[in-house]
Amino acid sequence: MGRNYQQLAKSVVQRAQKRGAQQAEAYLEVGRQSSCRVRDGQIQDLTEATSKGLGLRVIAGKRLGFAFTSDFDPTSLDRFVDRAIELAAAAAPNRLAGLPTAEDLGVPSDVGDLFDPTVASLPADWKIKAALEMERAGKAVDPRIVSFESVGAGEQISEVIIASSQGFAGSYVGTHAYLYAVPVASDGSQLQTGDWSDEKRFFDELEPAEAIGRKAAQRALRMLGAKKTKSQRVPVIFEPSMAASFAATVASAANGDAVHKKSSFLAERLGSKVAAGGVTLLEDGVRRRGFGSAPFDGEGVPTRRTAILDGGVLQSFLYDCFTARKAKKRTTGNAARSYSSLPAIGVHNLYFQPGSKAPEEIIGEVKNGFYVTSMLGVGANIVTGEYSRGANGLWIENGELARPVQEVTVAGNMLEMLEGIDALGSDLQFRGSLGAPTLRFRELTVAGE
């Protein structure tokens, strides 16, 4: 890492311009990562790696070409640049094709620290110890924890470097550390998994390994004896991690590209009330210590905070530069990418703003309903707004989590779901870059027997 990659990015851009590109942008990622999994008190595997890659976007004659490589040998790089320009010739000319303008670019946002020196200097055995601790703590909960599908830990340091012909040059380095446990519980006739994990940029914010192992085990155990239930329409509660995945689905419907192509159920609803009054969905690229925070997006545009839903009103869609130009909007700094892909619209830190109710209260108010703790399948169609996913969780009887339920689906229409959110918890939780509190839907279809 360091200055030589900045130089490399600039020289690739210069070469592309010399070879006939009107615009060029080099996106580099350089990193190292290390991870460990354990099994039965022993190391299962240890992985160490370094990685690097370069993606080059060129505009030649209003046509877009893109190539990526992990081979930084100078001769190979020269050929690589030529290839990107050849590729542009195959695309259709598009007057909207082009890199962000100086006006789009502006000044990278101040996001505070993304780099934790503690993560960067962790001793090699921290992850072995942490993983063993999770496994031990999980098994200690109950003898019915018979195995682990996986249990592991790791850390990663990565640097992003961008240089473009439009005068942009920037980089940032960030750290990540993570812990996860997926134990399996058995009662002799049924196996159930539970999972729990945490990932953060800063080591001291990670949940303790012991707590992760224990929670994961409890989540597996409480599912033992799960059965189908009969089909009915009832109040459904998503625990925070499930609510966070619902946030991601809603955000994908706010993708400016899908909206522009009228391939989203939210298209044509900008400015109107689409969700219950208390529902605010934020995409926040500058959140302090956020897992997905960055000073600029995948094409160098400063990140920012965008309210997708504000008090239930559809306030904004998300854009990168190209889509914004098509839709006659401004970029919202939401170009997401890796070195091996062109920018596409994505989120940095996405979350539902918490409400004021304690999760116990939200459950306590339900006489007969379903508390969803894990889901299977894609099941959300953002074009039609249909939502139908396999779900596991706990049935609520008279305000209590009464019995485990599996092999059912929860289904609804996403607009009706958004309008029907009748409680938001005070328990906002982030797992990585997605966050949400407990969320209750007034009524969804649970399909089983």
């Binding site: 992990s70 195959a90 091996s340 289904a411 279809t445 027997e449």
Partner: protein
């Protein structure tokens, strides 16, 4: 539907051009020295996996070719096994210094401190289940661009209600070299290509429906002379148009008929994953300890076959250098075997079934499926539909997922119809299938005799690793399967 008619039949090696002598990315001497370095702390086994992959893609949207893309990815993964412990290090830097650093890092898993001796490897022959006429990387970009342009025209011409067409062509040529301390040195060239078309159709009152179709395999570019982009586009458009005006699916347990082909993805999820040896060894699969037991209806025979000619999931050698194989997993309802990579085979006292696969040099191999299909039965497909008084016909599937431990699987049915008195009726929307793998297999009451290869569009994810797979299923009747939906 597809030209891959040999699918499901025994593999055939096609006569073709002689394989070009592959100049290894690393010299054999370097591989041997790397293996020695990997064994320097005393270990049971070491392996070096070298990969160089090139890819191209062309994307068309809003009636224009948006971009043409190309990529190059290369690197080395070094794996060292000591007892049940694995050390893995990878690098995309192929300079000696980086390579030997990776080998020494992976070696640290072994603690005995013994000095290893020199390692010699010799070339193992590989079978040939696929070979392309011209490497896909050498096919002119303009020909690839032409495919998506033709698909776009055909989809729009199919019906004026087709409003959006996204057409993609993607290919890759991956060359792999694997050397290990058992003395094996094997290599393979794996070409793979695919076209895909996604269509959004708009009906009355702004109703929108989607359709998707695609296919390909380890095939020559000339595959698309018969599996034409027009055919693919019309099928995607047909799905979107056919489901306009669909009514909500009725939720609850029903008799379900699966259309042949891509529906095999249900078999892949519902039972395939649970038969991968790592889950069996860890006792996390509900098939653990059930070998020799009846786990499905006697009409059910499930095969995983890495040797199907030119299929998307086939492997001449797996990513540990072992030849691809055909494995009978379930025979007439009885559980016969699992899919093994070499590590799980060794730990479980079995043998590798050529099922050790990995996404790239950045990943360790693990047991994976190749082409997984349900053997043909003897029921006429029309009879199967006629036999159902009231039920659900699943013509096309979206994605699916399984929970290995409790066996729950879920599938999104992207094109569904009601069956009333033995006839296919109105299109339905929002249907999802959910069940427990073995229970669903026990409820298989009719198995069709119709051909069942999928067109070659599957990608399977496990532990974050994506690999291409093939699936297949003849028309199938399953009784008493739960259908998720909004209408109770």
């Amino acid at each position: 539907m597809t030209s891959q008619g040999q699918r499901g039949a025994r593999p055939q090696s096609r006569p073709g051009r002689p394989v070009r002598p592959a100049a290894p990315l690393l010299a054999v001497g370097t591989l041997e020295r790397l293996l020695s370095a990997a064994m320097s702390r005393g270990a049971d086994f070491a392996e070096v996996y070298v990969e160089r992959g090139t890819s191209t893609a062309v994307v068309l949207e809003e009636k224009k070719i948006k971009s043409a893309q190309a990529g190059l990815s290369q690197g080395v993964g070094v794996r060292v096994i000591s007892g049940g412990k694995v050390g893995y290090a990878y690098s995309d830097d192929l300079e000696d210094e980086a390579l030997f650093r990776a080998a020494h890092t992976a070696a640290l898993i072994a603690q005995s401190g013994e000095q290893a001796h020199a390692v010699k490897v010799s070339r193992s022959p590989s079978p040939t289940f696929y070979r392309v006429e011209t490497p896909l990387a050498e096919v002119e970009l303009s020909q690839k661009a032409d495919l998506v342009a033709r698909a776009n025209r055909a989809a729009h011409q199919f019906d004026p209600r087709v409003k959006q067409v996204l057409a993609t062509y993607a290919d890759q040529t991956k060359r792999i070299w694997i050397a290990n301390t058992s003395g094996r040195f094997a290599e393979d060239t794996q070409d793979l290509c695919r076209i895909g078309v996604r269509v959004v159709a708009e009906g009355k009152k702004g109703e929108r429906r989607t359709g998707f179709y695609g296919g390909g395999g380890r095939v020559s570019f000339s595959h698309f002379d018969t599996f034409t982009p027009e055919m693919v586009a019309r099928e995607a458009a047909r799905q979107a148009i056919a489901t306009l005006g669909a009514v909500d699916a009725r939720a609850g347990a029903q008799t379900v008929v699966l259309a042949p082909g891509w529906s095999g993805i249900l078999l892949h999820e519902a039972v395939g994953h649970g038969l991968e040896a790592d889950f069996i060894r860890k006792k996390t699969s509900l098939f653990t300890g059930k070998l020799g037991e009846k786990v499905a209806s006697e009409k059910v025979t499930v095969i995983d076959d890495g040797t199907v000619a030119n299929s998307r999931g086939s492997v001449n050698i797996d990513d540990e250098g072992n030849p691809g194989e055909r494995k009978v997993l379930i025979e007439n309802g009885v559980l016969r075997g699992f899919m093994y990579d070499s590590l799980n085979a060794k730990l479980m006292g079995g043998r590798s079934t050529g099922s050790g696969r990995r996404e790239s040099f950045r990943h360790m191999p693990m047991p994976r499926m190749t082409n997984t299909y349900l053997a043909l039965g003897d029921d006429d497909p029309d009879d199967i539909i006629r036999s159902v008084k009231r039920g659900l016909y699943c013509a096309q599937f979206g994605g699916g997922q399984v929970d290995i431990s409790n066996g729950n699987f879920v599938f999104e049915v992207s094109e569904a119809y009601e069956i009333e008195n033995g006839r296919i009726g109105r299109p339905l929307k929002g249907a999802t299938l959910i069940g427990v793998g073995p229970e669903a297999l026990k409820n298989v009451s009719m198995v069709g005799s119709d051909p069942m290869p999928d067109p070659g569009m599957g990608t399977c994810g496990k532990d974050g690793q994506m690999v291409p797979v093939g699936v297949g299923l003849p028309t199938l009747r399953i009784d008493n399967l739960t259908v998720g939906g909004t209408r109770v």
